[in-house]
Symmetry: C2
């Protein structure tokens, strides 16, 4: 029974995500969401109360996925700039293959949607944390304007996500490497400059943190998602799935 | 009479733009648009037919403003990369101070909105044209991946526009210079590298093309917009203003 409730909540979040992505929050009707999820309107109201609360569940699930991709900013890291580059690749791949994450970003761009959750705010703060760490560890070029670099890196991801959403999704992933090729020579201190791989280090892209965290959730790592079926993509345990609404 | 019709069309476009920016296309109701413009529903229907057509008028007006900011890609230019940098600053400033342009970009991000006009497609093609020109003229570093650079520069502007829309608009303009500081050393050929001003060349920011074109329209140049009243911002002659709908 618990499993069935969890499945219903998950199906509703996923269906809402897919419809939000197509038509924005205002364009996703309760009737369409229920039809796509194969549940009754009563089930939506039982589990979420209303469409607004379901939208909030989509957004908070997307935020959890994002947090799972980035992890917290570490205290120390052997190669913080490489970690930043690798994580940006992971995020781009995850955006390509996860409709709930895409819906979260769609809501962030949706002028009709207002909430306190900001996926981009999280990404911005994480990037800032990593660049701070890089500076403390001497990996950042001395003359880098930290605020400017944070803005550029945040905006790049936001822009790629927004621009590439419709026509050819895999272009997102392909645009990340050229960006780092342009930016890294200025960003990295001379001592590490030649050692950062703009295309992502194969080690980190395979099983280093934060990807390892996905394993804990018994889900597939993002780099494998292209080969995954839709049903397997939601590998973050949804908070909403653990119980029913009051 | 012609003037009054033109003013009504302009007021409707501007009111629709402001409401689209706040609530997306789906969230902007005909009633709200008419109330804000101070006209009757009948006037909206007379001039545009319906809300969809009014939305299209907002978008095509925004596209005209964008074209006015960029101009066509020139055949030759004494400093194509500086021209690209300057135009990106102009665009950022214009986004900050023009609600119709912002609404055009809002529509481009709006999942509920579907049209053939793409402001970002125009910006992307313009950037590509400028980088092509820079390459032909020997201003571009030899090893630059043109597609990658076009994606990065397009995405940067899209991301800044999307991210900074709400909280503090003037941050858009402030983020452009740090981006160019990071990117120009890799992008520019050695011969011109030290001569490009990331903050924009004062000459171009004052009265070189494409800003000069604004003068033809009897409107203020974008760099002056911070000091302009709202009514003066719409300095592109709206195509929609030249006649009434059929």
């Amino acid at each position: 029974m618990q499993d069935r409730a969890a499945r219903t909540r998950r199906d509703l979040i996923r269906s809402a995500a897919e419809l939000i992505e197509q038509g924005g929050f205002a364009g996703a009707s309760v009737g369409q969401i229920c039809a796509l999820a194969g549940v009754s309107r009563g089930a939506l109201h039982f589990h979420f109360g209303n469409k607004q609360a379901l939208g909030e569940a989509v957004e908070s699930t997307a935020a959890e996925i994002l947090l799972c991709v980035t992890g917290q900013v570490p205290e120390r890291h052997p190669a913080p700039l490489q970690f930043l580059v690798d994580t940006s690749h992971t995020l781009a791949q995850r955006v390509v293959c996860d409709p709930v994450l895409r819906a979260g970003f769609t809501l962030a761009h949706d002028a009709a949607w207002h909430s306190d959750v900001s996926l981009w705010q999280h990404w911005r703060q994480w990037v800032r944390g990593l660049l701070d760490l890089a500076r403390r560890q001497g990996s950042l070029a001395r003359d880098v304007d930290l605020d400017g670099a944070v803005s550029a890196i945040t905006a790049l991801m936001a822009g790629l996500e927004g621009l590439e959403r419709d026509p050819a999704r895999d272009r997102i992933a392909r645009s990340v490497t050229p960006f780092w090729r342009l930016v890294l020579p200025q960003l990295a201190a001379e001592a590490v400059r030649g050692r950062i791989e703009a295309a992502g280090s194969s080690a980190a892209m395979a099983d280093e943190p934060p990807l390892e965290r996905w394993r804990l959730d018994d889900g597939a790592a993002p780099h494998e998602c292209a080969a995954m079926s839709d049903a397997e993509l939601c590998c973050v345990p949804y908070r909403e799935m653990s119980g029913s609404a009051s």
